[in-house]
Structure formats: structure tokens, C-alpha cells
């Protein structure tokens, strides 16, 4: 109240904008120019439409485009529908609380690891077929059916759903934490409305604005995903994004220009998907308005409720089984079809692979810790500064921070790679760190801004009234009070960094390799054992982070009853 807001934008706002917008804008420009034939680094200085013409001459291009659009949009809408139906039917019940405990850790499973595990589960030679072979099916060798990499992309869609459901679920859960939302559930019930009807007519319209950005981010991601597509997706032809990566790495320079043109096409595909979703959203909002006040209580909801529960439990079971299969495969020596469990174990080989992966693991951990620290520190700075200046632009800030997640990664990573290459910066730790930050920072902000806003402002006021400086209030009051959410943010940020496949692949240029890039490379062609072990390591890093985030506050605040987790 005594401090006057200074004029001009604050330092942390500028910093965050530079970290986010810098790489994105530079990357987009770096993609745009080569798409029109301009790439001085490789001696192309004239503009032409040749790369675009070349792109559209590629066989099956339209199929690829269609696959990206359909699988991405379908997976996103399906994930949202599953989450909403489950939350509608079960929120506030004991079942709900129990399943929440399973879903939260699943969020930290990187996409690639989940996809590899799922492949072990559903492949023709996978665990599910083994379970019923040969005694039911009569198969003594894996059936010759395309369950994995099916041409319609069903396996890929399922893989994306399994991964996006935990994410959207936790976003919805956070939205349900808004004040009074639980009372609205009661208000609906006491007016005679069923659980599901109450959720969709009263609660969802209020919390939807909070889950909309995450849904859009899921659509942008799912329509341009590379790692999941490479492991589970169709191959003849593949969806657009994995084909682009192949072209980008082609020694033939013409293919690189074409890949840039393709990245623009990818941008258009994701934009069309987002537009389609937004149009559908409007349509539903408009048509449901009339139904809102007809007074139908929809009390026959058993099918909807148990349907939602069944799908949710299936997803959790599939994920848990997949992760267990990763463990089994990484220690197996021989595991011939149709044996349900490995016939022979080889822990020595596992130890060998582990020893050889230590370098990879080191790089992964270093990248994860560095990007987590930078992202969390920047987020804290940003939030503290916003409070201090009492700017109420929190919505605008959130949109800015979220923007990189609404673009397909590939559309600006190509340009960024080319820029870094010409600056001789490519393949360095710093370059990869910068690329990771673009994606880590939004999640750090997402994880921390709510707990920060929920902290009772009177603590800071009380401290200020005693005469504590701004710095002291931050270091000695706010930070200790927010220890748990800050640690969780660090863990989330580290998990996001570990999950980054495309940024590491593109900007790392083969010199910076993490367990994630390596596991995807091994999964498509290498040994199952090594792929499984690397996928497990991928899991291990975020897991260690979350365990630390849970243990440290318990240790530090062991004598402070009020600092324990609320029930």
C-alpha cells in the first residue's frame, strides 16, 4: 500500500517473455523461411515454392495429415469425455479419492515410457495375448495382426488417451478446488438433480474456463506428437509429425527444406484441430442452453456412472500393468511367446545396460534439475513481483505462459534447430536447456500459481507490519509456507523435462542424448530389454523427484501440526 508501482514492465515478466517468446518466434521464423526455399546456411538465398511443391508430391501426404488430425482430435476429446464422466459420477466419493491416488503418480510417467509399456501389453506378442494363448486362442506364435501400428492409428489413440487422461483429470481436480464448488454439488442434489446432471449443468459451466487451456494444449500436442506415434502409430504412411522428423534428418538438403514446409502444414493441421474443437464447444454450449432449464433431473444415471468408472479403472490398470511389464522385460533374458512370464532372468545384463546408461542418465538428470531450478525460480520471481506491483493481469500472463503449449512443438523446433546450427550452438547443453525451458516453464507456472494465490495474504501483511522487508517476507515467510508446493513444482518441472523427446532430439543434434530419446530409438528396432530398462529409468527420475517433494516437508516440518497436509 505504501509502495508505488514502478512504470514499465517488470524484469521477471520480460525475462519470461524472452525465454518463451524468444525461442518460439525465432523458431517460427526459422521454419518459415526455409519453407519458402531460403536457407543461407546451406547456400539457398532465393525464395521459391519448390519445398511446398515437393511436400505435396510425397506419397500418402493427405493420409498422414488426416491421421494426425483424426487421432489427435479423437484422443483429446475422448480423454476429456472420460475424465468428465468419471468426475461427474464419482466426485466426492471414497472410490474417487482412492483412484485419485493412482492417477496422480501416473501423470509423471513420460509419454515415451507409457507408449513402450503399452506396446508390451497390447502387441500381438504382448502380455494380453500371452495371457490367453495358447489355451483359448490356440496360438503358439504371435498372431499376424496389426494391433500395434495399425493403419487407422487406434493403438496410438489409445496410448495418447492413457497418457492425457491423468493430465486432464488433475487439471479438473485443481479446478474443483475452487471455493464453493463442493456446495454447488449439494445445491444440485437438494434440488433433486442426479450427480451426473448436477455436474454437467451446474459445476462444469463454472470450472470449464479453468480446464479449457489444458484441453487445447492436449489437442496441439496430440495432433503433432512424435514419440508415441513412432512407437504405437501407423507406419504406411505414418502421421505427419514423425514423417517430418525423418525428412528433417535426411542427408538430402531438399528434404530439409521440404520438412520446413511440412512443419508449416503441421501448424495448419493443429490449428484446424483447435478450430474444430472450439466450434464444437460453441455448438454444444448453444444447444445445451435450452435443455438446461427443462427441469429433467436425470436420476437414472447408473449406466453413465459405472461406464465412466469402468473406463477409468481400465486405463489405470493398463498403465500399471504396462509399467510392471517394463520391469519384467528389463530383467528378462528369454521370454518366448506364449509364456506369460519370462523363462529366464538375467540381472547381470540389466546391470551392464544400466552401467552403459549412466552417462545418459547423468545428462537426463542434469537437464531435469537445471530446467526445474530455472523454471521454478523464474515462476517464483514472477509471482512475487506480480503481487508486489498488484497488477491484476494474471489471466493475460497465464495465456502468455501457456502459448508455447498451444503450438505444435515441431513447428518452431525445426527453425530453432536450424538457427542453432548456423550459430554453432546446436548440440550444446545450454541449447537443449533453453529448448526444454520453453515447455517446462508453463507447467511450473501452472503448478505454482494456484498454491501461491491461495496462500493467505495476511501472513505477508502481518510480517510487513512488524517491519520485515520485502526480501525477508519472501525468504522467511512465503517460501517456507509454500515449501511443499514449491517442491512439487520442482518435481513437476523435472518430470516435464525428462519427458521431452522432440526438443532433445532436434536441438541436441545427437550430441545431447537422454534416456528418453534413447529409449524411443531402441523401442523402434532395438532390443526390448534395453528399451524397457531405459523407459524405467525415464520413470525413475520424476519418481525420485516426487518422493523427495513428499519427504522433505514432512522432515522439515515434523513438529509443525499446521504444516501437515490437510486431509
Amino acid at each position: 500500500m505504501t509502495t508505488k508501482p514502478r512504470a514499465g514492465p517488470a524484469v521477471p515478466v520480460i525475462l519470461v517473455s524472452v525465454f518463451l517468446a524468444g525461442p518460439v518466434l525465432a523458431g517460427l521464423a526459422g521454419t518459415l523461411l526455409p519453407a519458402f526455399g531460403y536457407l543461407p546456411a546451406l547456400g539457398r538465398t532465393g525464395f521459391s515454392l519448390e519445398p511446398i511443391r515437393h511436400l505435396f508430391q510425397q506419397p500418402g501426404l493427405m493420409t498422414s495429415v488426416w491421421l494426425s488430425l483424426a487421432t489427435g482430435l479423437m484422443a483429446s476429446v475422448l480423454s476429456l469425455a472420460i475424465v468428465l464422466l468419471f468426475v461427474a459420477g464419482w466426485s466426492g466419493t471414497r472410490t474417487f479419492r482412492r483412484l485419485t491416488r493412482f492417477l496422480s503418480p501416473l501423470l509423471s510417467v513420460p509419454h515415451a515410457a507409457a507408449a513402450i509399456g503399452l506396446a508390451f501389453l497390447i502387441a500381438p506378442s504382448g502380455f494380453l495375448v500371452r495371457l490367453v494363448s495358447p489355451w483359448v486362442t490356440g496360438w503358439t506364435r504371435p498372431p499376424d495382426v496389426l494391433i500395434l501400428n495399425d493403419p487407422l492409428g487406434i493403438a496410438m489413440t489409445m496410448g495418447l488417451v492413457a497418457k492425457e487422461v491423468p493430465f486432464l483429470f488433475l487439471m479438473t481436480l485443481a479446478a474443483l478446488n475452487r471455493p464453493r464448488i463442493q456446495e454447488y454439488f449439494k445445491a444440485g442434489a437438494s434440488l433433486g438433480y442426479g450427480r451426473v446432471a448436477t455436474f454437467f449443468t451446474i459445476v462444469l459451466p463454472q470450472i470449464y474456463p479453468l480446464i479449457r487451456l489444458p484441453v487445447l494444449a492436449v489437442i496441439a500436442y496430440a495432433t503433432s506428437v512424435v514419440d508415441v506415434a513412432a512407437i504405437l502409430g501407423p507406419t504406411t504412411p505414418a502421421p505427419l509429425a514423425p514423417r517430418l522428423v525423418l525428412w528433417m534428418n535426411d542427408p538430402n538438403l531438399a528434404y530439409r527444406l521440404m520438412a520446413s514446409a511440412g512443419a508449416l502444414l503441421q501448424l495448419a493441421v493443429s490449428a484446424v484441430a483447435l478450430g474444430t474443437y472450439l466450434a464444437g464447444e460453441r455448438l454444444i454450449a448453444a444447444t445445451s442452453k435450452r435443455h438446461l432449464v427443462t427441469g429433467h433431473r436425470h436420476l437414472r444415471e447408473r449406466t453413465a456412472r459405472y461406464g465412466g468408472l469402468l473406463v477409468m479403472v481400465t486405463i489405470i490398470a493398463a498403465m500399471v500393468l504396462s509399467l510392471m511389464l517394463l520391469g519384467l522385460w528389463s530383467a528378462a533374458r528369454s521370454w518366448w511367446f506364449p509364456a506369460v512370464l519370462p523363462q529366464a532372468w538375467n540381472v547381470m545384463r540389466m546391470a551392464d545396460t544400466l552401467g552403459m546408461s549412466l552417462g545418459l542418465l547423468g545428462t537426463t538428470v542434469a537437464l531435469a534439475s537445471a530446467s526445474a531450478l530455472v523454471a521454478t525460480a523464474l515462476t517464483l520471481w514472477l509471482l512475487e513481483n506480480r503481487d508486489h506491483r498488484k497488477t491484476s493481469s494474471s489471466r493475460r500472463l497465464k495465456t502468455l505462459v501457456f502459448l508455447p503449449l498451444l503450438l505444435p512443438q515441431i513447428s518452431f523446433l525445426f527453425g530453432l534447430q536450424l538457427l542453432f546450427l548456423s550459430a554453432d550452438f546446436s548440440g550444446t547443453f545450454t541449447a537443449v536447456l533453453l529448448a526444454h525451458l520453453v515447455f517446462v516453464l508453463p507447467y511450473a507456472f501452472l503448478a505454482l500459481s494456484d498454491p501461491w494465490a491461495r496462500l493467505d495474504p495476511r501472513y505477508a501483511k502481518a510480517a510487513a507490519a512488524i517491519g520485515a522487508s520485502r526480501g525477508r517476507i519472501f525468504w522467511q515467510i512465503r517460501l517456507p509456507l509454500l515449501l511443499r508446493p514449491v517442491l512439487v513444482t520442482l518435481a513437476v518441472a523435472a518430470a516435464v523435462s525428462v519427458g521431452q523427446y522432440l526438443p532433445t532430439l532436434m536441438v541436441g543434434a545427437g550430441r545431447i542424448v537422454t534416456v528418453t530419446t534413447e529409449s524411443v530409438a531402441l523401442a523402434s528396432g532395438g532390443s526390448r530389454q534395453s528399451a524397457a530398462l531405459l523407459a524405467l529409468l525415464q520413470l525413475g527420475v520424476p519418481l525420485a523427484g516426487f518422493v523427495l517433494a513428499a519427504l522433505l516437508p514432512a522432515l522439515l516440518h515434523r513438529n509443525r501440526a499446521a504444516m501437515r497436509l490437510e486431509r
Binding site: 454447488y184 442434489a189 437438494s190 434440488l191 433433486g192 459451466p205 432449464v293 427441469g295
Partner: protein, 225 residues
């Protein structure tokens, strides 16, 4: 519609609420149609849990014994939706994405099928609350007192058989409080609804002019005085 027999009204039969080992409250009381039972107590005395138990929202970590009978029917095994109990909260909880009129139409049973009749009923309710012409307004633009009136009408339009009031007057300024209290109690008397009012305001209890049940440190409730 109510006969003055033994079974009418809301009967809290030997109700006791426990949280773990501690007894929170005990009550055994019949609320006749059109009358008000006031339950008084400081925060933390289990008042809200009692309402939750009657309306069917009791959290699973509480243990409850006893029965809730409404016009002779045992509500205890029923879902909240089937209990026909109208609930008014501390805050009016108007649905912010609907207009005032839509808030009211939302509550009218689906058996009233014609849209025009539904609209008329909602308009009539607004008139009764002294809010004619407010139908198309955004609920957020109404004053606290006006919001509480709309909330009352919304509760009544759902045709409840009993009313539970969870300190619905506590957020109103003193001048408005008496008006709205009178509106609520008159409506309940006119419709012959048993009312359970939870409050920590002595004035509320006096205005309700019915039985008072006090939860205080001396014990978990002292029967129904």
C-alpha cells in the same frame, strides 16, 4: 395436505453424530409442519454435520445413528436427490452461468413440461419475492439480500417437503435480515413445511419463535426444549 397426526413433519429420531470417538451432538426432536426448530451452537459444534446428515451429504468419516423421518417416511437410506429436502446455504449459491429466471426455471420439476408455463411460474415466484422484472439479470449484479430471496424461491420451486437453513441470514446486513427472515418463515408456514434453522445468532432464534436446541460446551445437545 398435512393431517395433524403423529407422523407428519420432520422427525429426528434419536440422532447422534460421532467423529471417531467423540460424540458431536445428540438430538431427538419432531418439527411440526409450518414450525421452526432452531439449532444453536458455536462453529465446530457439529451443526453443519447435522444438516449434512439430514440432507444426505454426511462425509464418510462421520458416524451417525438414529433415523430421519419425513412425514413418516424413513429418509436415512435414500439418496439426497430422493429426499425432497430444500437446502439454503450461508451464501445464496445462485448459478452464475444462468440468468435469474433460468436459476428459478432450473428448479421447477420436469413434470411441468410446457416452457411457457415454466416461465410463468418462475416469473410469479419473482413477483412473490418482490423482484418483478429481475428475470433477465445476471445473478452477480443482485445485492446480497436479493440473491437470498431468489435462492429461497429457487428452493421452494423444487417443491420440497422440508427446509434446512444453514445460517442463510448471516451474510446480510441487519436492516435486511429481519425482512428476509420473515419472508422465509412466512413462506414455510404458508406451505406447511417443517423448518430446521442452524444459526449462532440469538435474534434468529427469537424470530423463529419455535423450539430451540442448544449445542454448547456443557454437552452434545440437551434434547429438544
Amino acid at each position: 395436505m398435512h393431517t395433524n397426526s403423529e407422523t407428519t413433519g420432520l422427525f429426528l429420531q434419536n440422532v447422534a453424530l460421532h467423529l471417531g470417538e467423540t460424540l458431536l451432538l445428540r438430538i431427538d426432536c419432531r418439527i411440526e409442519p409450518g414450525t421452526v426448530l432452531t439449532v444453536m451452537g458455536e462453529s465446530g459444534s457439529g451443526k453443519s454435520s447435522l444438516l449434512d446428515f439430514i440432507a444426505g451429504f454426511l462425509r464418510p468419516d462421520f458416524q451417525a445413528s438414529g433415523k430421519i423421518l419425513l412425514d413418516g417416511q424413513d429418509l436415512t437410506p435414500l439418496n439426497p436427490q430422493e429426499r425432497h429436502i430444500g437446502l439454503m446455504f450461508q451464501s445464496p449459491l445462485l448459478f452464475p452461468h444462468m440468468s435469474v429466471l433460468q436459476n428459478l426455471m432450473f428448479a421447477i420439476p420436469a413434470s411441468v413440461r410446457k416452457r411457457s408455463i415454466r416461465r410463468e411460474m418462475a416469473q410469479q415466484a419473482l413477483d412473490d419475492a418482490g423482484l418483478a422484472g429481475f428475470g433477465s439479470r445476471d445473478p452477480a449484479t443482485l445485492s446480497g439480500g436479493q440473491q437470498t430471496r431468489v435462492a429461497l424461491m429457487r428452493t421452494l420451486l423444487a417443491e420440497p417437503h422440508a427446509l434446512l437453513l444453514d445460517e442463510p441470514f448471516s451474510n446480510l446486513d441487519k436492516a435486511r435480515r429481519a425482512d428476509i427472515r420473515a419472508l422465509v418463515f412466512d413462506a414455510a408456514r404458508e406451505k406447511g413445511l417443517p423448518v430446521l434453522l442452524v444459526t449462532h445468532d440469538e435474534e434468529d432464534a427469537t424470530a423463529a419463535s419455535g423450539k430451540v436446541h442448544v449445542l454448547d460446551e456443557s454437552g452434545p445437545g440437551n434434547g429438544c426444549v
